[in-house]
């Protein structure tokens, strides 16, 4: 490319634009980076040279050893993982079934039901915590992962139904009409034709459902605060409360909580944005 053909104002504007973007990227990432690098240092390293990368002298994984020895991080991960995966599967299945019924069938109260199911998008479920706790106590589910799953399914459904309904409106009518002409039953139309078609929206819905659940502190705190049922967020919170002065352990526990979610995010970020921009959310 011959340089003379680039407008000078374009070139200088590009420099400014990238300077702004780089600056903000640094603001967004540096704090996370700082925590993770210091988790791999000795206590001395953490305080003498907080901004340096771990080197031969300062490298240490004593923080991680301590965390894994003194706390049950594997179990916390297992709990968070179970709750999140089970919830996502249930939310996706129930929400796509409901979204399909709302977008496909004409029945009395269709619009009213859609609005009813949308209330939960705007009204936070936390406000019902007093009754939720009573309910969970009555059901004998205190300190169980089941309690968390039930609440998170209820929390995840409204937005999932809304996004999937919007998405289902875009499915061409011809497909299901062709199937009906062939005498395919309504259940089979949904499971064999519609479910495979909504895959692009599923990634978006899964991420939107997953992030708040994985990161939640509130419900683990009130519904399942002990007995080895802690999720990773609550586990870290309790651990740090206990070892607040042990910097190695604190930094290591934070890194353990940060790294998996960031890896997951990097894997799924493309689908997330694609779902957002393909009109799954309006």
């Amino acid at each position: 490319m011959s340089f003379s053909n680039i407008r000078r104002e374009d070139a200088s504007r590009a420099v400014i634009v990238h300077a702004i973007l780089l600056t903000y990227t640094l603001v967004a990432l540096y704090p996370i980076f700082l925590i993770v690098i210091n988790a791999f240092k000795t206590r001395k390293g953490i305080f003498r040279d907080p901004m340096g990368l771990p080197n031969a002298e300062t490298f240490s994984i004593e923080g991680f050893t301590k965390v894994l020895a003194k706390s049950n991080f594997e179990l916390f991960f297992y709990n968070s993982f179970t709750v999140t995966i089970v919830t996502i599967v249930i939310v996706l299945l129930l929400a796509s079934m409901a979204a399909w019924a709302l977008s496909e069938y004409k029945f009395p109260g269709n619009t009213a039901l859609a609005l009813y199911l949308a209330i939960g998008i705007m009204v936070p479920i936390r406000l019902g915590s007093v009754s939720i706790l009573n309910l969970i106590v009555d059901l004998g589910l205190v300190n169980t992962l089941t309690a968390l799953v039930l609440v998170y399914v209820a929390q995840g459904l409204p937005l999932a139904i809304f996004i999937l309904t919007e998405f289902m409106h875009q499915i061409p009518k011809d497909l299901k009409e062709a199937a009906r002409c062939d005498g395919v039953g309504e259940f089979k139309i949904f499971f064999a034709i519609i479910l495979p078609l909504i895959r692009p929206a599923v990634a978006t819905v899964a991420v939107f459902t997953m992030i708040p659940i994985w990161n939640d502190l509130w419900f683990p705190l009130i519904l399942a605060p002990g007995d080895g049922k802690q999720t990773i967020t609550l586990g870290v919170q309790q651990f740090i409360g206990q070892y607040v002065t042990d910097w190695n352990a604190v930094l290591a526990s934070l890194s353990l909580a940060i790294i998996p979610i960031l890896i997951l995010y990097l894997i799924f970020s493309r689908q997330l944005i694609r779902g957002l921009t393909s009109g799954a959310v309006k």
Partner: protein, 372 residues
């Protein structure tokens, strides 16, 4: 109004060359149409003229000034987009006034210009409407109005008719032609539709694969295509092609033949070195007629018949497998399965070498000439 000059314009996206050095002169007041199949680079070239794409190499001049690095606003151009690209949140009036407002023009001057354009395009009653309240044809006129108010040196049209239905397309085509007569402005117009190109253009630029195949008036392109591509692209239904062998050449004469009957002497200047080679013979369907009265005849079985009323198209399968379209009179009684001979005057033939370049035709009657 102004002239436009392109000198070896190149465009590269990464490693892909999209335009390979385009030369073109557009005279003041001329209506130039870029035509070609999709992906030929015509829209890219238009966007380069508009300043929406950077030029990789070469020089672009508008009204004598090199504008390579000038922003669109400093080029004195206005553009009408295929999608109309009307600002959905502004009224028709504001859509048309937007550019002038950015230009910090005087309010009353803006008003005068917008109302004048609205009058020309019969948009007076619609000035307070939003684009969503307009029909396709009305949106199209607003898009043109937005270009007119800016009083540009050069108008750029990017496939402006392709979103309209067939009837409206013909009507709007006429309106654009009339607008050009009234405004006497320089217009560069992109389309993939050769009918639009033929009806509107003073000068057609046929593009293919990032190159200009031929530049000329509609009649020049129709009668004297310089390449097989242009010959096949201009004209509807498309020109027939079939392979023939060069048997002998003499000054201004060439003898060609093909298995299954074709054997003719045609008025072309062909070098001696071509003797024995296979070349392509082209004849337009409208120059062929059933019967063997003319010099150049083909025959075969009719396998499709299309009746259009005023004429009937016969699709004849030749012995070598090529299919030839023949325009027969509307009252033709020829049916599928008939063996038919069709013939054309030798002067109607076109001959292309192995690279698709046309051989020079000599001594042909006036009806096959672009001269007026």
């Amino acid at each position: 109004m102004a002239d436009l000059k392109l000198d070896q314009i190149r465009k590269r996206y990464g490693a892909v060359d999209v335009l390979h050095g385009i030369d073109l002169d557009v005279k003041d007041g001329e209506f130039v149409v870029f035509v070609g199949p999709s992906g030929c680079g015509k829209s890219t070239l238009l966007r380069i003229i508009a300043g929406l794409e950077e030029i990789t190499g070469g020089e672009l001049m508008i009204d004598g000034d090199v504008v390579n690095t000038k922003s669109p606003r400093d080029r004195g151009i206005a553009m009408v987009f295929q999608s109309y690209a009307l600002y959905p949140h502004m009224t028709v009036y504001k859509n048309m006034a937007f550019g002038l407002k950015l230009d910090k023009q005087d309010k009353s001057a803006i008003d005068a210009r917008v109302r004048e354009a609205a009058r020309i395009l019969q948009l007076d009653q619609l000035l307070d409407r939003r684009p969503s309240e307009l029909s396709g044809g009305q949106r199209q006129r607003v898009a043109i109005g937005r270009a007119i108010v800016r009083q540009p040196k050069v108008f750029l049209f990017d496939e402006p008719l392709s979103n309209l239905d067939a009837a409206l397309r013909v009507q709007t085509r006429l309106e654009i032609a009339k607008l050009h007569q009234d405004l006497k402005s320089t217009i560069v117009y992109v389309t993939h539709d050769q009918v639009e190109a033929m009806t509107l253009a003073d000068k057609i630029v046929v593009m293919n694969g990032g190159n200009v195949e031929q530049v000329g008036s509609p009649m020049q392109l129709y009668h004297h295509p310089e390449t097989r591509f242009v010959a096949g692209f201009i004209g509807s239904p498309a020109m027939n092609f079939t392979n023939v062998r060069i048997d002998a050449v003499a000054p201004g004469k060439v003898t060609v033949s093909a298995p299954g009957g074709i054997k003719s002497v045609l008025p072309f200047e062909v070098p001696q070195s071509e003797v024995g080679k296979i070349v392509e013979l082209g004849i337009r369907p409208e120059h062929l007629a059933p019967g063997d009265e003319e010099t150049l005849s083909v025959n075969g079985e009719v396998d499709v018949v299309e009746k259009l009323g005023d004429s009937t198209y016969l699709y004849i399968k030749l012995a070598n497998g090529d299919r030839v379209t023949v325009r027969a009179p509307g009252h033709s009684r020829i049916k599928i399965g008939d063996m038919v001979t069709a013939s054309a005057p030798a002067g109607a033939a076109h001959l292309f070498d192995g690279d698709g370049k046309a051989f020079v035709k000599v001594d042909y009657p006036a009806e096959f000439s672009a001269e007026e």
